[in-house]
């Protein structure tokens, strides 16, 4: 990443967004995302976190305020961004490998290098044997992994995830969290991870931002050792952070 350390990778300034006929769902948010960091965004259902993610992706345009990338350009949807949805949203009529290659094949005919890269990603996610299967033949966790591989195939500088593991059981979710971290640390991808699960946010994040009623209630640094392990979840430091986030999420200290 050639982004200047002083400049945030993605900068949101006084961003307001309102769906017609309702009070603002995102109400004056300032937020700086550092390059290469993992930024988690937590909040209760309906607090505006998914809307904020779509604003960051450029899928929505703010009514006022700015959403800027490090080079001063506004955020626009495109292959420079990876996006993982709440559901895997795979194309069930294409094989797994074609689903992973979709972002490439929409731009150009996939080259042998692209196919190798897709195979390598699938191998890292433990899905080598499933490349020629159809998505419906895979379990929920495997489908989520394919969606993750698809988001990473073009090696985007920014990866946006919208509660991607919410529908998975605790053990599968833990495995996927570790897979995600491994892949993103390797490429120094900047990550914006939206979740309503506090422990997931603390486990994954370098920083955890808390949203409450359309506003940013807090942006806490999480100072836990770098390669996180599932056993940390039971440590005292981890739980202190969780309690802190919980209070902000409740709006107690906002």
């Amino acid at each position: 990443m050639s982004a200047d350390r002083a400049m945030p990778f993605l900068n949101l300034e006084r961003v307001i967004y309102t769906y017609p006929g309702r009070p603002p769902i995102v109400d004056g948010v300032d937020w700086r995302l550092e390059a290469g960091g993992v930024h988690c965004l937590v909040g209760r259902s309906g607090c505006g976190k998914t809307t904020l993610l779509k604003l960051a992706a450029g899928l929505l345009a703010p009514q006022s305020g700015r959403v800027q990338l490090w080079d001063g350009t506004p955020a626009t949807p495109g292959p420079q961004l990876g996006y993982v949805f709440q559901a895997p949203t795979l194309l069930e009529w294409r094989r797994v490998i074609d689903n992973v290659l979709l972002p490439v094949s929409l731009q150009r005919r996939p080259l042998p290098e692209d196919i190798d890269r897709a195979q390598a990603l699938l191998a890292m996610l433990g899905l080598s044997d499933y490349a020629q299967r159809y998505p419906r033949q895979l379990s929920g966790g495997q489908q989520s992994r394919v969606a993750l591989a698809r988001a990473l195939i073009l090696e985007p500088a920014l990866l946006l995830l919208d509660e991607p593991f919410a529908a998975l059981d605790a053990i599968t979710r833990g495995e996927l969290q570790d897979d995600l971290m491994r892949l993103c640390r390797l490429r120094k991808t900047t990550v914006l991870f939206v979740t309503h699960d506090i422990s997931e946010a603390v486990y994954l994040g370098d920083r955890v931002a808390v949203m409450h009623q359309g506003r940013m209630a807090a942006d806490l640094p999480i100072d836990l050792p770098a390669p996180r392990t599932q056993s940390m979840r039971h440590g005292a430091a981890f739980n202190t952070y969780c309690a802190q986030v919980f209070e902000f999420m409740n709006g107690a200290r906002a």
Binding site: A57, L59, P77, G78, P79, L81, Y83, F85, Q86, A87, T89, L91, E92, W93, R94, R95, L102, P103, L106, Q107, Y134, R136, Q137
Partner: protein
């Protein structure tokens, strides 16, 4: 799927039972062959009319009209469905006309078509095409509109063009619905072809029925009906096989 074969046997046994009851009733009650011929008489007429080659050209004519009408009307319905689904303007301008053209019973237009296109296959094909148009248009329109919004957002995110979104997302995602429309259209096409032949044709199974009525040859009428039923069954089975083949990846599999 173990019970599949016993069920099929049961259904075959019911057919044998019904045909047997028909045979016995006709013989016992001494019903004239002019009113209701016995199945054995129908089978005999069917066999001789096939063996002498009398029925074959008529079967060929009906099949040709049905398939040509289905191809023309189906293709037009598909194209119109895509156009209306893609363009709100076209939808608003054309939809009232399309609906009016469909509520007018097309069978009532048959005499007009004979006037315009003369006797022979042309008026029947036009009418069959008009009948096939609607189910395919309606199903295509509905299927394309019902594409999962998350998948649409994914394609937007990946910078897909409108044509790519249509060809690589909407049409494949709508394929199950479109094929269901094709199945309905095929059944209607057979009705359209036969009724068209009633009115303005000298060839085809519909014309055979009218001619048999004129000759008071009721067994021949039943023979033609049997042939029509066989065509319908085979056509329906063919669309089911096509669906099973094309939709294999869509089905849940372990």
């Amino acid at each position: 799927m173990k019970p599949a074969i016993p069920f099929r046997l049961l259904s075959l046994a019911l057919l044998v039972l019904l045909v047997g009851a028909w045979e016995v009733t006709v013989r016992q009650a001494g019903i004239s062959a002019l009113v209701l011929p016995a199945p054995s008489a129908v089978a005999k007429t069917l066999w001789t009319s096939l063996a002498t080659g009398y029925l074959w050209p008529h079967i060929g004519a009906t099949l040709a009209e049905m398939l040509l009408g289905l191809a023309l009307g189906g293709a037009a319905g598909l194209a119109m469905g895509v156009a209306l689904a893609e363009s709100a303007l076209l939808d608003r301008v054309f939809k009232p006309y399309v609906i009016v053209s469909q509520v007018v019973p097309k069978l009532a237009l048959a005499p007009l078509f004979v006037l315009w296109f003369g006797f022979g296959m042309a008026p029947t094909i036009v009418m069959t095409a008009l009948i096939c148009f609607f189910p395919l248009m309606e199903n295509t329109l509905t299927s394309l509109r019902q594409v999962d919004p998350n998948r649409l957002q994914l394609f937007r995110m990946l910078g897909a063009s409108r044509a790519q979104t249509l060809l690589r997302l909407k049409l494949p995602a709508g394929l199950p619905g479109i094929l269901a429309g094709l199945r309905v259209a095929l059944v209607l096409a057979l009705v359209g072809a036969v009724v068209g032949e009633f009115i303005g044709a000298s060839r085809g199974l519909g014309a055979v029925i009218i001619a048999a009525q004129g000759m008071m040859d009721t067994p021949l009428m039943f023979a033609a009906l049997t042939a029509i039923a066989a065509i319908g069954l085979l056509g329906y089975q063919a669309t089911l096989m096509l669906e099973r083949r094309l939709l294999r990846p869509y089905a849940d599999q372990s």
